[in-house]
């Protein structure tokens, strides 16, 4: 009975969604109907929001990758919030699973996996670092870079059942990275006029040392995401009672 009702409701929802999506036009965002209005002084601009990003990313932020420029600069406040959500979740996980660590025995992985993962780990970490350092030039950035680092530690956890993250080191890393992010934002408030504003020279677009605060923030995010994801995986790993 429950299933039938659920199927009917879900199909009705499916139909509603399809009908509504058929009204969405894949229109060019540069068209006139999308021109925005400045909410503070009420004047109309002669561009839409996305076309502002496309045409001004390079000279306003110094980044080549527009997505990175939006994530770190234009909408950097969202990213601070997002990092906070991940931080909250990691705190919640360690808060709730505090005392469940113990020694349930697991079969040891075989030698090739063990030695191989030891060999591969530095390369994985290096790849992760490369991804987040070059976030403003190539696709990637802090989040995938951090995830790659975490997957390196995940590999270690898989091959060594007794491998645990050092809790203190992880929490210090994530705190320092978070403080760096928020502190750079506050420096923007001091040296420029608003929170998270860029106060460093933009440099030549296309080089690693360019784009002002973007690489610094992305490195902080990379460390933070990497440490938090690995601590979450570490806490959820199979050890109990």
């Amino acid at each position: 009975m429950r299933k039938v009702v659920a199927i009917i409701l879900a199909s009705a929802f499916f139909a509603v969604l399809l009908v509504s999506f058929s009204n969405i036009q894949q229109a060019d965002y540069g068209e006139k109907e999308y021109y925005y209005q400045n909410p503070i002084n009420g004047s109309y601009a002669n561009e839409s929001v996305p076309s502002h990003y496309i045409s001004n990313t390079k000279n306003e932020t110094g980044a080549v990758n527009a997505v990175t420029a939006i994530v770190v600069e234009y909408r950097g406040f969202d990213t601070l919030g997002e990092v906070t959500v991940l931080f909250t979740a990691a705190t919640g996980v360690s808060f709730l699973l505090y005392k469940t660590r113990g020694g349930k025995k697991r079969t040891e992985a075989n030698l090739i996996l063990k030695e191989g993962s030891k060999l591969v780990l530095p390369f994985i970490l290096l790849t992760g670092a490369y991804i987040f350092i070059h976030g403003h030039l190539t696709p990637g950035g802090g989040f995938p870079g951090g995830a790659v680092i975490a997957s390196g530690f995940l590999l270690m956890m898989l091959s060594y059942p007794k491998f645990f993250m050092k809790e203190k080191a992880v929490s210090v890393t994530e705190s320092m990275a978070g403080i760096t992010f928020a502190f750079i934002g506050l420096l923007g408030l001091v040296f420029a006029s608003s929170f998270l504003q860029n106060f460093l020279p933009l440099g030549d677009a296309g080089y690693v040392l360019s784009a002002g605060i973007i690489p610094i923030i992305y490195i902080a995010i990379g460390f933070k995401v990497g440490s938090e994801l690995s601590s979450i995986a570490d806490k959820l790993k199979e050890v109990q009672k």
Binding site: P139, P144, A147, L154, L229, A233, K237, E238
Partner: protein, 82 residues
């Protein structure tokens, strides 16, 4: 362009099939893996839709890590539904 449309349709059916399998199977490990597969195919769709940043992130976080923690959690609770 017709090839791309065909590929898109194939991917769409793959995703929907994987999603239905993930919901209907009684084995939670297969369900988690099917959800991961759906997520992975969606990340290829992101690539086709010219969103490489999102594709990388979805493949590593959405498909990889989410599936890993699901598998860990299922290992600590119970593998079978009901």
């Amino acid at each position: 362009m017709i090839e791309l449309t065909i590929i898109s349709w194939i991917m769409a059916f793959l995703v929907i099939g994987a999603a239905i399998y993930a919901i209907e199977t009684k084995d939670l490990i297969s369900a988690a893996i099917a959800a991961g597969v759906a997520s992975l195919v969606v990340s290829i769709m992101f690539l086709v839709l010219q969103a490489p940043d999102v594709a990388i992130t979805e493949a590593s976080i959405g498909a990889g890590l989410t599936m890993a923690i699901f598998v860990y959690a299922i290992g600590r609770t119970g593998r079978w539904e009901e």
